[in-house]
Subunit: 416 residues, 2 copies
């Protein structure tokens, strides 16, 4: 009633398509949380198989009670007090060292701002850089959750294709030149997930990485590198991160402990030039990120547990990936897919006539949930973009993967 | 270099005055954090007495190891996973019950959104409601940290005086009428700290509360009630919160566990109509607030520890308040002050010629830090507003309060 009508509707409308997907998602998650926390196994008939979101497999969530005891005992005056706004000095230093060890990023503590997860880092990047009407570059498709964040800042999307080597840099260069000729503003930044892309699973080739960074430097456009899955690699060697190749401070790099350790810690970061980091610290008016979870992470990493844990994470998700790939080949042979070498997802391309939205709806009626591919395109409403679906293999057990994909195959064959 | 120049300078400039104060503040805090976490006592000569910020007294920070053990054991699949975006369902329910028990707010779980502290809640309120050029109402003076948050949204401040009964509602009504006659837009909301106001310590009278809510309903203007110190009451009975008096859904009420339990938990909330709460949930794109600290708080509160803890908090800060008031009367008899019945601060009015900024600078040279009153005025640069200072008695020990105020008196007398 009274003061509510007409307020800020524009801003919230921007999020409605996101909402449509996530309201349902949150509801199902709440159901799943109940299942997970209940002592008794879920009653037959209510079991939901979740291929939808990047939740961790419960079996890889580490025991952090020792880290919490240290953080809440010895470090209590730090962990229960307000934290410095840029993050705990020791954690900023640790993250800089961690990134230096990963292909030689040129970073010190002052290059790092600790955030409440990588999405918060992305939001701060947007608050720093974007004004309504600005353009940004995203891949086709792109990360589902980033779209409403960008949209809430009123941006124009420039969509660039991907192939098996990642973002098509030549196409991007052409688009930039034609915008320049047309007197249009250059994009404020280029956003991408170069390692085990979400949703496609593609990892950008070294040549493309170098070409993109050279283009960004020439064009004076910032690059926003979002790489949460970088360490979740099942085979092969890492390619240098954008940040490691970045000589001219063109890259803002987003990181997170969500996929390394646990999503519930809500600790991520953004790394970049001190000039930009300092401006983001000014914009981060939240009383500092939680010092308790920051200190627990420091205890975990400095206590030497991180490497072994990453190895375990890789092993578990490799098994899940293998199981998902085999199940899709068996139950949905009509689907084309590139087998991902890491990350949490497979991206299926179905025959042209197939409606992925309808498939998701029908599967949900049989308690198998996933996000249809149409949600991963920044420019909505293109019918040919309905033939894709993303399946997350992170959260479900191998048995659930087998059974869920079997149901998905049945639903698919019953579509016509 | 390259892409950085000229980007978003307007947005960050808005925060510069804040920054000037807080950069120094953060640096001193980092120093203090080192003092606090060091096993050895601080070396002589480096001891900083902190009257500046609303940090908790280390001696009242509770032992939360049992809560963490439960949260990380039994509840691990919940606490290390992504949380639902509105907050844990059980915590939203608990907060609604807690507010219902406090003067009978008409609230259910759906009225509550859990946030990363109250400042994050305030930022979400601003993102929901404000467009550049909008006006908002604040008191003179107002909460220091809220000013740069508001300013970053490009607002016009309408400053309304306070007296011993709180915000002058009659003056506000007059201003609204004259704006209306002049064809100016009405303010989007009225922001205030009605209990133990920060910085003045004033608690709004019941009559003013009722008059303000009636005015807001008539004028169809939202009220934003920020009441972190409500339970930190040393004597007398609570007056009804704005939310408890709110029949027409005019009030958005911000709460936090920072002053109830520990700032480091970074858990706060905003309570209001489901229509507004749901729009804020859409804007909260952070992957959910930390489920670990939410669950620890639930364990603490449902385990029956909250009441005893609040009693202890009241007792400790009452002693600190008494000590501060006595020290100011003894060492700075020239300062006028209203003795606060709760909260963390005393607000001193010095003789007209005194420059509080200079006093803060000189005191800092002797390692006593506090925030000069000029920082608490939304419209900067009015010389007559320099005669105030705010002293926080929350963090320092009684002995530090005695010694620090003694130094402050010496610095004051050496000013001319």
């Amino acid at each position: 009633m009274n003061s509510e009508s007409g307020l800020a509707t524009a801003k919230t409308e921007a999020n409605e398509s996101f909402n449509e997907a996530t309201a349902n998602h949150d509801k199902l998650l709440a159901g799943r949380a109940r299942q997970l926390s209940a002592a008794a196994p879920a009653a037959a008939g209510t079991h939901v198989t979740s291929f939808d979101s990047g939740h961790a497999f419960p079996g890889v969530l580490p025991d952090l009670t020792a880290e919490a005891d240290a953080a809440l005992g010895q470090y209590r005056p730090e962990t229960l007090q307000y934290a410095p706004r840029p993050g705990l000095a020791e954690l900023r230093k640790w993250i800089a060292e961690y990134m230096r060890a990963d292909g030689g990023c040129h970073l010190e503590a002052e290059n790092v701002l600790v955030t409440n997860g990588a999405k918060h880092a992305l939001e701060l990047v947007c608050r720093l850089l974007l004004d309504p009407g600005d353009a940004i570059v995203v891949t086709t498709p792109t990360y589902f959750t980033a779209i409403p964040i960008f949209r809430s800042f009123g941006v124009e999307f420039i969509e660039i294709s991907q192939d098996s080597e990642g973002l098509c840099v030549a196409q991007l260069e052409e688009v930039l030149m034609s915008r320049s000729r047309a007197g249009l503003r250059l994009p404020k930044f280029i956003y991408d997930v170069p390692d085990f892309h979400n949703p496609t699973g593609v990892t950008m080739s070294r040549g493309r990485r170098e070409a993109l960074i050279a283009l960004a430097e020439r064009s004076r456009i910032l690059l926003v590198e979002d790489s949460p899955y970088r360490k979740v690699r099942f085979e092969g060697d890492s390619l240098p991160s954008w940040k490691a190749l970045d000589e001219g401070n063109s890259v803002l790099s987003l990181g997170t402990f969500s996929k390394l350790l646990a999503p519930g810690m809500r600790v991520g970061w953004v790394a970049g030039s001190p000039a930009l980091i300092n401006r983001m610290i000014q914009l981060k008016s939240d009383g500092g990120s939680c010092p308790l979870t920051q200190r627990m992470i420091l205890e975990f990493c400095k206590g030497g547990r991180l490497e072994g844990h990453i190895a375990r994470v890789q092993q578990v998700y490799r098994e899940h990936r293998d199981c998902m790939v085999a199940a899709v080949r068996r139950e949905l042979p009509e689907a084309a897919m590139t087998v991902p070498h890491g990350g949490y997802y497979v991206w299926l391309t179905l025959p042209e006539h197939v409606d992925g939205d309808l498939l998701a709806l029908r599967a949900q009626q049989r308690s198998v949930i996933f996000i249809p591919g149409s949600k991963f395109f920044a420019a909505a409403g293109v019918a040919s973009r309905k033939r894709y679906i993303r399946l997350a293999y992170s959260h479900a057990t191998p048995q659930e993967i087998d059974e869920g994909v079997k149901i998905l195959g049945e639903v698919y064959r019953a579509l016509d």
